[in-house]
Symmetry: C2
Subunit: 206 residues, 2 copies
DNA sequence: AGATTGCGGCACTGTGTAGTGCCGTATTAG
DNA sequence: CTAATACGGCACTACACAGTGCCGCAATCT
């Protein structure tokens, strides 16, 4: 009711810009350091805000981080943002360049930082799942499904499992092995696992 | 030189049992809570030791945790500890029962807790890689290679990539999705990804 | 025995950070 | 105008934990 900006109240209005700036700053810090090292002080400084401005909007640190995760930009993982090169192999590979390095590498870092939070804050699982895990899986599922639809491959035995291969293996490598997710690695997964698990359609191809 | 237990020194000897008890307690706490929540106090209490006894043996918290990781028991992942049921499928599945739930689930929790440490302590990567990541991958590589050797499957295009599939996907699921790694899930990976990516050998099989 | 070191328990210091209160200033409604 | 609210900056409290010193006791060497 009174949540509209133009409520019949006196006083200065909250700057809607600030919300976005603070959430972005939170994601930045989260992408750079660990969850435990994310201090409100740091976020406030990064956002050019006072701590009060943060506490006025969110209950505490956890609420802030949850809100930030929820607004992670995953637009590039929607059907419209995905590459369409003609073959599944180059589609999957295309997802690497401006995406893994621009969008998804950031997502991966955030995912990694938030992992510490996941183990103790149950609601963090939902936030991460909705904002990061599900969109990633959905993107790969979409690409594979489209390749099947166009007759490039037969419908696999378990599409959901296959769609999780790349996000899982990329996360494992970047995260636990601290090694770069580069083209060479992606190719080894794409050719050695994903495409290897797919079969040509029953009708002869090529 | 003077490192042997019977050095010509006066005074009470260090209890070698204590080292093991403290490291085990560290792993226990690490498996139950997050890295940030691992307090020396907690470890000491769990080990029935005083904090001094810990600080006398290790420089600080990080050294302690690194030492604990290094002594993670991965004997069950050596060739002698692995199942040998006759088929790759049941070998992979057999690794789930007393192993994923007994040994590897614990390893997974530890892996997850330590992830926060990985991002800031470079040496943690080595410790985790040596103690947990490499042995797991090696175990799956061994099982697949053996199946190839006995003629069950042809040598895959990329054995290393395939050997990482299960640890990666299990970690991703347990860790980021906070869902159980049960038989149903394992079967979906085994049948939907790993075995799907393997081909019968050139000579007709069965 | 006497000296020396290990051990558990307690108290203490130092540090870092979440969260709050206050102040001066800016914005907006009436 | 005045009142009310937002904002940045600063100071302050509360708390948790790393790391250390001290005490009394136990074990082992000469």
């Amino acid at each position: 009711m009174t949540s509209t900006p133009t409520a019949g109240k006196a006083g200065r209005r909250r700057d809607p810009e600030k919300d976005a700036q603070i959430l972005q700053a939170t994601l930045d810090v989260l992408a750079e350091t660990d969850y435990a090292d994310v201090t409100i002080e740091l976020v406030a400084a990064r956002a050019g805000a006072g701590r009060h401005t943060i506490y006025r909007r969110w209950e505490g640190k956890d609420e802030l981080i949850l809100a930030a995760i929820a607004c992670t930009d995953s637009a590039d993982l929607g059907p419209d943002g995905l590459p369409d090169t003609g073959t599944l192999r180059s589609d999957l590979l295309a997802l690497l360049d401006p995406n893994w390095m621009g969008g998804s590498e950031r997502r991966l870092r955030i995912l990694s930082s938030v992992s510490a939070m996941i183990t103790r804050t149950p609601s963090a699982v939902d936030a991460v799942t909705k904002a990061i895990v599900d969109p990633s899986t959905a993107a790969y599922r979409f690409l594979i499904q489209r390749a099947v639809d166009r007759g490039e491959y037969a419908l696999p035995h378990n599409l959901d499992a296959l769609a999780q291969v790349i996000p899982s293996m990329a996360a494992y490598r970047a995260f636990f092995m601290q090694q770069v997710v580069d083209e060479e690695f992606m190719l080894s997964i794409i050719d050695g696992v994903v495409l290897a698990a797919l079969r040509e359609p029953s009708a002869a191809n090529r």
